[in-house]
Amino acid sequence: MLNLSLKELSQALGEKKFTSVELTQFFLNRVKKHNPSLNAFITVDEDRSLAMAEKSDQLIQRGKKSILTGIPIAQKDIFCADEWKTTCGSKMLENFISPYDATVIKKFNDVGAVNLGKTNMDEFAMGSSNETSYFGPVKNPWSLDCVPGGSSGGSASAVAARLTPAATGTDTGGSIRQPASLCGFTGLKPTYGLVSRYGMIAFASSLDQAGPMAISAEDCGLMLDVMTGHDSKDSTSINRKKENYTDSLDEDIKGLRIGVPKEFFEDGLNADVQKVVEEALKQYEKLGAKIVNISLPNNHLSIPAYYVIAPAEASSNLSRYDGVRYGYRTKEYDDLTEMYFKTRQEGFGDEVKRRILIGTYVLSAGYFDAYYLKAQKIRRLISDDFKVAYEKCDVIMGPSAPSIAFKSGEKQEDPLAMYMQDIFTISTNLAGLPAMSIPAGFVDGLPVGLQLIGNHFEEANILNAAHIYQKNTDWHLQNPKGIG
């Protein structure tokens, strides 16, 4: 069960080689064994997961099986799941039991997938190392001294250590792709608007997007088939015909034009990581693709623009945590104002408070034009760069992250160094493009990810390119040695 793909697991369940209950118990046992050292899960509820598995077994018995029926999936703790504790990695929501299902959760439930538990994450998805979680840092299974990346660090650690066959994540500035790179598996951030944000706790609404985190491109495609679709409960959900993301996986990539932006090989990229990425590009050439040199001249402005736009949106979204309707409330207060001030001082961690303060500042009277409007104009420049680039190429490739996994604590006190982790990922969030990270090799025994960026709604194309690479390499099939 340990190393089977989603397709193989599905097949085995269909052939009654094992039941969903057995499969779920197998992964629950792995969680029990390894979670004390990895801290990948915030909430595990064996009884509830096994009850879901039992129901899935009944579906399979009755022949009502679709591809993910009976397969355990770990859910990032940013997704509200009915009657599950949903914390978003924050003290503010430490005891929040969601009264409803996010659309993503509902879609997995509807096909009979099993919720294996809620995974750890940076508080309110703000971080690149999973060290800002109120529930403690997550460890990288390739080296317990290192971070798994963030913010979807719990899902990343769980997938890499095979504590779950697959997991969900969310990506506002790189939170699926950077951890996928640092933990050595496949992660995809879809086009903005493709996956419903309903019930996904909001960080920066114009950038947030949910996506799959799994071993292979094929697994991600199968999950994407379930996760996508128009949702009237999310006003930014795109109303377009639902696509199939697995039909074209095997298509030939001869003649595929790969755009390689020179800026992705300048800004602080580790030299050894660069070698691995260049090797992967050579592999693509061997497979028949053509390399085209392109430029994304405003990429260096993506981090400054992001740290205006994302905190601005966050300061508005997080104003709902006031200690009145749900969540944490401070113990002692004399009046309403003091209750607000102390509730938010005690309930939020340092990074979240920093971003709320920055967001409040850039939106405040007198600064709006200089910061917020300016950032929106730069967002346009960055987005236009991609439009120009896609006239010359079909897919853009480069590194997912500037380095391999770094040591826990190394960047914790230096927010700016931490922010640089997303130098190659943020621009695609600003432009709303789909992008993924796939394993492409190792440096000092730690994984390196290759990033594939598609044009809007071209998930199937990048999945195809990733799948062909994975058919010809085995980087994505490597397991961390220390995890039995």
Partner: protein, 95 residues
């Protein structure tokens, strides 16, 4: 552009976040670091550029004004820190 303690206190008030005396130095230092990073934007001339507020050019969809959600009051109220007879209780605001 940099920010001093007095301005931070103003913003913290707007954001309803208490910043204690002991935190003030660190907050000032780190916010100024982030503002210096953001400042790089000013190097670019964006005079004629139209601001982009959203990744995709979509319009706000409208729907009929009808009840689509089931009543989850009994599940939602127990989540509040303090309720009485289906009301959220906060410190008295009006004398």
């Amino acid at each position: 552009m940099s920010i001093n303690k007095e301005e931070i206190s103003k913003i913290a008030h707007l954001a309803r976040i208490k910043v204690s005396q002991t935190e003030a130095d660190q907050v000032e230092k780190k916010l100024n670091g982030i503002l210096a990073l953001i400042e790089k934007m000013q190097e670019v001339d964006t005079e004629s550029i139209e601001p982009m507020s959203h990744a995709l050019n979509i319009t706000q969809p409208l729907r009929e004004d009808e009840v689509t959600e089931k009543d989850i009051r009994d599940k939602s109220l127990p989540l509040a820190p303090h309720t009485e007879s289906s009301l959220f209780i906060v410190p008295q605001v009006i004398e």
